[in-house]
Amino acid sequence: MKRVVVAMSGGVDSSVAAALLKEQGYEVLGMMLRLWSEPGKEDSNRCCTPDAMALARRVAAQLDIPFYAVDARQPFRSTVVQYFLDGYALGVTPNPCLVCNREIRWKFLLDHAKAMGADYMATGHYVKLREQFPAGLDSGTNSTMQLLRADDRSKDQSYVLHVLNQNQLRSALFPIGNYSKDEIRSMAKGFSLPSASRPDSQDLCFLAGEDYRRFIKRNDPESLVAGEIRSVDGRLLGRHSGLSQYTIGQRKGLGFSSSQPMYVLDKIAETNTLLVGFKDDLGRNELTVKNLNWISETPPPETFWADVKIRYTARETPAEVTRLQDGTCQVRFDDPQRDITPGQAAVFYQDDLVLGGGIIV
């Protein structure tokens, strides 16, 4: 019997994932990460409050599978939270979930799962896997694991998993990628799981439901250096309270008046300047992507067309992608794109297939 560790959260998705695997005849073990929370806010970390852990434990008991908590507080703080703070200090808008998936969930926890004798680790992510064999074969050893978007596009989570490599994917199972959220919810009821009615989660777990700006004020106050707000044509319009306190596309709360609405266009870390402009200035046709990960571990052709997604919630848009000598990619859209945000990921798709992606410069 193959042994699989399910990364549980107490939520409906990972609970149903565990139930499905058990039904499929795997020996299922539940594990849950204890992540870092700010001192005094341990009860409100969205993913791993004592309540969520108690719920996950109840789900495991209901499914008659063992359940273990794993202490990831220190590595989570030093990788994920540090990445988040460093990114904002450098004037970009980081996506810590990417680092969490790569370093914590699919490395730290996967290592623990392997040590527990697991053949696979599963999560409740909405994505699919396909094993692709060399042309003409339907089995063999030279296969490639392909990451595919979920059938339920509205729930697809491939954006945050584009950071995975072949080794990680070979150990991965994604049991719920073929189902819609509604189907998962009704299955949860069918399995009588106590998590069936919990709402979906959205924000970063360690923000505990709070605005990220206040988190930065508390945890990295030195990064908040006031500076100038300037327009595209160089006019000094006001003062800002620290670049991290603003997001690209932000209109409200800029602290100066103007005849027409003005938006944050860019954060220039070198001069600590917040660049603002009018709505028409927001769009750009091009962007550069660094730190690329190609899921097949074989880079695509030098120039190719792909559907590109530039934020977790953005709709993907066709673009021409050119791989450059320095290892970055140039992405060119037909039409200007709003809210291109350095620090967020650009992920490349061809139909259902996730090619890979990187970080917007």
Binding site: R3, L29, M31, M32, L33, R34, C48, P50, M53, R57, P66, Y68, A69, V70, D71, A72, R73, D111, H112, A115, M116, G117
Partner: protein, 385 residues
């Protein structure tokens, strides 16, 4: 389905079949309330008074010195608070001596009395084996000392304390002596006069009795007030209708433990020594915690440097071995146990603790399987650090 091997008898034990049989009639047949006047009540009363005599015989005391409680922790609370409050109001003594290695049922009770009720507490440091030296007790006694509470055997590291000598020192200063014998009673004699104690706590489920029942020995003449007030049950020291079937089970379990004490110890002790020798030899950077000789005959406890004890427990469980650890934490935020930190070990050692406790169901074959798996698992857990 894989077989689970239970190696956590210090946490709890299965109820002995004979104990279960003894309890059975008192659920639905002889179900009376011992306080009732009628025939049902009299039968129930007879059952608990018989149980009290049985327990008294094992403890070598009078039946009227045995108070039934709901568990070992309640017994500890009643002893520490009941005597502390009584002495404070009667003769102004408000000083308590206890050790840093006590079960929380004693240490957190003393801590509360210190913080909320104006008691002074002296916290004794154990030596590197987790043992309390009688001399440090002698050095702590004052004219205001009401009570000294030191456990007979430590639950985490198995060390047996020289309670007789500590009690002697206390008696000379008119200080009452309590010992938490919850862990010890499964294998050590609990003869209250030989131990010289005034109060002694027991919990049924540590010696093949049911959970949810305990007892406190209270020497005649000991100043003590009830902590749970209400009806006059248990000589006015513990209000509430007695849990008749569980009290019957408790007494039968203790009787059998006393009767079979030597045979039971002879079963586990060689297995314990085999595990200790084997682990220390086959696992690099391992140490025995607790006293090498003066320890519970069913108790092995180790620390492994650079190992997350919580992870090791999970790995062992996934392979069917049910053990325990001083830093065990179900919510993934392990801290080294206070007791293991007291032994002078660094965090890197003290987080990697493992407790293996044996019982009458332990077989040599199961233990061989266990010790053949353990070194590789420790190594795996170590590599994840």
């Amino acid at each position: 389905m894989k077989k689970n091997i239970y190696l956590d008898y210090a946490a709890t034990t299965p109820v002995d079949e004979r104990v279960l049989q003894a309890m059975h009639p008192y659920f639905s047949e002889e179900f009376g309330n011992p306080s009732s006047i009628h025939a049902y009540g009299q039968k129930a009363e007879n059952a608990i008074e018989t149980a009290r005599e049985v327990v008294a015989e094992v403890l070598h005391c009078e039946p009227a010195e045995v108070i039934f409680t709901s568990c070992g922790s309640e017994s500890d609370n009643l002893a520490v608070k009941g005597v502390g409050f009584a002495r404070k109001s009667r003769d102004g003594r408000n000083h308590i001596i206890t050790s840093k290695a006590e079960h929380h049922a004693v240490s957190l009770t003393a801590d509360q009395m210190n913080k909320l009720f104006d008691f002074d507490v002296t916290w004794l440091n154990p030596d590197e084996f987790g043992m309390i030296n009688p001399q440090v007790v002698a050095d702590s006694l004052t004219d205001g000392t009401a009570l000294c509470s030191v456990m007979l055997a430590n639950n985490e590291i198995g060390t047996i304390n020289p309670i007789g000598r500590i009690a002697d020192i206390c008696r000379r200063k008119n200080v009452l002596m309590h010992t938490d014998a919850v862990q010890a009673a499964a294998y050590l004699p609990v003869h209250v006069d030989e131990l010289g104690v005034d109060l002694l706590s027991l919990g049924g489920h540590k010696f093949y009795g049911p959970k949810g029942v305990g007892a406190l020995y209270v020497r005649k003449g000991t100043p003590i007030i009830p902590i749970q007030t209400g009806g006059g049950q248990e000589f006015g020291l513990r209000a509430g209708t007695q849990n008749v079937p569980y009290i019957v089970g408790f007494a039968e379990a203790l009787r059998l433990t006393d009767l079979e004490r030597e045979r039971r110890a002879a079963h586990v002790k060689p297995i314990r020594d085999h595990i200790i020798g084997n682990v220390l030899e086959s696992i690099p950077r391992s140490l025995l915690t607790g006293h090498p000789a003066d320890r519970m005959p069913n108790h092995c406890s180790f620390v492994f440097e650079g190992v997350d004890g919580n992870l090791l427990l999970a790995m062992l469980d996934a392979e069917g071995f049910s053990c325990s650890s001083g830093s065990a934490c179900k919510t993934g935020s392990p801290e080294p146990s206070e007791v293991i930190q007291l032994l002078g070990l660094s965090r890197d050692w003290s987080l990697g603790s493992l407790r293996i406790t044996l019982g009458q169901g332990t077989t040599v074959e199961d233990v061989e399987t266990f010790i053949s798996h353990l070194p590789a698992m420790v190594e795996k857990a170590r590599n994840l650090q």
